[in-house]
């Protein structure tokens, strides 16, 4: 417990982090930048979960467990996403998301 720091501080911090990540996902032109924005958003959610666990539900571990599982799933997501980026670069010589229109009729 930190004196003067309440749950609201952590929630405010993580919503700022989430909004910044959302901005990155919406505006980045290359696929790796979009993935980095996604990682920021996932981290904001994880910070929220650990803050709820540490400041509200101190006798259980649900928040920390869910954070561990989210970290694992985010690692899996990053692996597959970056493999797709490499594969896209091989096929089109470009990683710009606005140029990846193979499925457009």
């Amino acid at each position: 417990m930190i004196p003067g720091v309440t749950l609201d501080h952590y929630l405010l911090l993580s919503s700022a982090l989430f909004s910044i990540g959302l901005f990155g996902v919406l505006t980045r032109r290359n696929a790796v930048g979009v993935l980095m924005g996604l990682e920021l958003m996932l981290n904001a959610v994880n910070l929220n979960l650990v803050a709820f666990n540490g400041l509200l539900h101190r006798s259980a571990l649900g928040g920390q467990m869910l954070t561990l599982f989210t970290i694992t799933i985010a690692a899996a997501e990053a692996t597959v996403g970056l493999a797709l980026v490499v594969s896209l670069f091989r096929a089109r010589r470009s990683v710009r998301v606005d140029e990846a229109d193979l499925l457009k009729g």
Partner: protein, 178 residues
């Protein structure tokens, strides 16, 4: 103000700064380094919240593995390092306004909620007698959360096989072309 309070505010301010630089840096490689800094600062926040194991996992998995993967992707796709192409699309201003509105809405929602009315979760019987965060997490992973733990291992294995399959060089090239 105590030392921990100053540390919290310092880490938070630095975190917002590095996160903003992550999404605005022109060079993608620099952006990845700022992302590494942001993720390390999140690990410091976990430490301040008393979640030591999660902090270590954050450093190992995110800063150690995911950042290395991202930097590998930047290196493998040469175009990413080119500074001359614009890194943002035309919708940067509407997106900034939308994200500002999202932040405003979130902060309004969380400040108008009375968190003291939430009933704390019941104590987990599996954690009786656990001393410290590390032991509690270990006990919890192998008792209450053992099925999700095994499932997430299976998912990670599937994702690794899938990633190798997707990134393989001759995925659909005809054999005669070799």
């Amino acid at each position: 103000m105590s030392f921990l309070t100053i540390l919290f505010y310092g880490v938070s301010a630095l975190m917002v700064f590095t996160a903003v630089r992550t999404v605005t840096a022109v060079h993608v490689f620099r952006s990845a380094l700022y992302l590494a800094a942001t993720l390390s600062l999140v690990a410091v926040q976990y430490l301040l919240l008393g979640a030591e194991f999660v902090a270590v996992v954050q450093l190992l998995v995110y800063v150690g593995a995911v950042i290395v993967l991202i930097i590998f992707a930047v290196m493998l796709t040469a175009q990413l390092g080119d500074e001359r192409i614009s890194q943002t699309n035309r919708l940067a201003l509407p997106a900034a306004l939308g994200c500002g509105a999202a932040f405003y809405g979130l902060s309004w929602a969380l400040s108008s909620t009375d968190w003291s009315k939430v009933t704390p979760a019941a104590a987990d019987p599996a954690l009786q007698g656990a001393s410290g965060n590390l032991q509690a997490v270990g006990l919890s992973l192998l008792s209450t959360y053992v099925y999700p733990f095994e499932m997430v291992g299976l998912l990670l294995f599937t994702a690794l096989v899938g990633a190798v399959l997707i990134a393989r060089k001759d995925l659909d090239a005809p054999k005669a072309a070799k």
